[in-house]
């Protein structure tokens, strides 16, 4: 019943695309600060976040920097989330292990998944294999979202769990959900 109600809330806002659901779920959970390092797949989400005055959305030079910013903001009373690509996540092991996890910061990460289901860049497919082992080794909660009908439930519940348990979470957006990036001649 609860799930059905949540779906109705998003459908009422009109946009049932994956990025529309992510944006609305961020808003409903008062996640206002969105630093990111861009990714082709994330482009419509980033564009719509920029267009919505509810959010403070901006690019950072590195993913670590974005994690530092949302960590500081959370301690100052403002919620944020970081958007990145698989290869960007791979730069974060030290920051996760020395900032987000030991200081118990509810770091919310959205990772657009490259490196699988049709990857054309060997480097991307290799670095992708490091992502889940790093998350598992630090016991960080993570979910790979493959289905549109599960997206709002997973994102909404994961944000709430991160905040209430003061623990990071990684939400991995699979090509099955987003379409991914494919080789174009």
């Amino acid at each position: 019943m609860a799930i059905a109600e949540q779906h109705n809330s998003t459908q009422a806002s009109g946009d049932t695309s994956w990025h529309g659901i992510v944006l609305q779920t961020l808003k409903r959970n008062e996640i206002r600060l969105i630093p990111y390092v861009p990714d082709r797949v994330l482009t419509p989400l980033i564009k719509n976040l920029h267009a919505d005055a509810f959010f403070t959305t901006f690019a950072t030079a590195r993913e670590e920097e974005a994690v530092g910013i949302v960590s500081g903001a959370w301690m100052g009373g403002r919620r944020g989330a970081v958007l990145m690509q698989t290869s960007g996540f791979a730069t974060l092991a030290n920051t996760l292990a020395s900032l987000a996890v030991p200081y118990q910061i509810p770091l919310i990460m959205f990772v657009s998944e490259r490196g699988t289901l049709g990857e054309f860049n060997y480097g991307q497919s290799l670095v992708c294999r490091t992502m889940r082992p790093v998350l598992d080794s630090l016991a960080i909660e993570h979910h790979t979202i493959t289905r549109l009908d599960e997206l709002e439930f997973i994102v909404d519940r994961s944000i709430k769990q991160a905040v209430t348990t003061q623990a990071p979470v990684a939400l991995i957006l699979s090509p099955l959900l987003t379409g991914g990036k494919v080789f174009e001649k």
């Binding site: 690019a59 950072t60 030079a61 670590e64 920097e65 910013i69 500081g72 030290n94 920051t95 200081y103």
Partner: protein, 198 residues
Amino acid sequence: MNNTNTKIMNRFDVTSRLIAKLKQGEAVIGGIGNTNFDLWAAGHRPQNFYMLGSMGLAFPIALGVALAQPDRRVFALEGDGSLLMQLGALSTIAALKPKNLTMIVMDNGIYQITGAQPTPAAGVADLVAIAQGSGLTNSAWAADEQDFERLVDQAMSADEPSLIALRIDDKPGVGTTRRDPVQIRERFMHGLGVREPL
């Protein structure tokens, strides 16, 4: 290098001078190692945050605090080696233009804590010129302690982000921060008025 006429100061001394000026609950983020050791030694304040890792993130963390609490002044203390790890953060801050953020760089040209090895920038790069080139136009070397205090006073009333760089000696930090990350974070949140103690 435009800093050759600047006096070589001491980290603990200038940190103590900064803390003595803070009367309005200003937040202070202390970068990894000696930088936060001297912040700790200058006298714990509930609005101090001490980093125990994540080298280079003092400015980004301070930017987050500054964005979350625009009415509170936020200071970030960072070493030259740490800043070199995250130079891109200067451009991010320049682009966002937080009015309430002051960055202080303690430049001794060495990784003091790991055995005093010179940084790659030592003697060749000018950190203030890098900051200015990154878009932080309000960046300056402090000529001596009095000039540092003057620059801090200016930064306190500025309506753009400020960066103050100092040449410091090769001395280690005076104290050692208690390495309890959860307590550091929780006390900081109390100090910022985000939470009440249990």
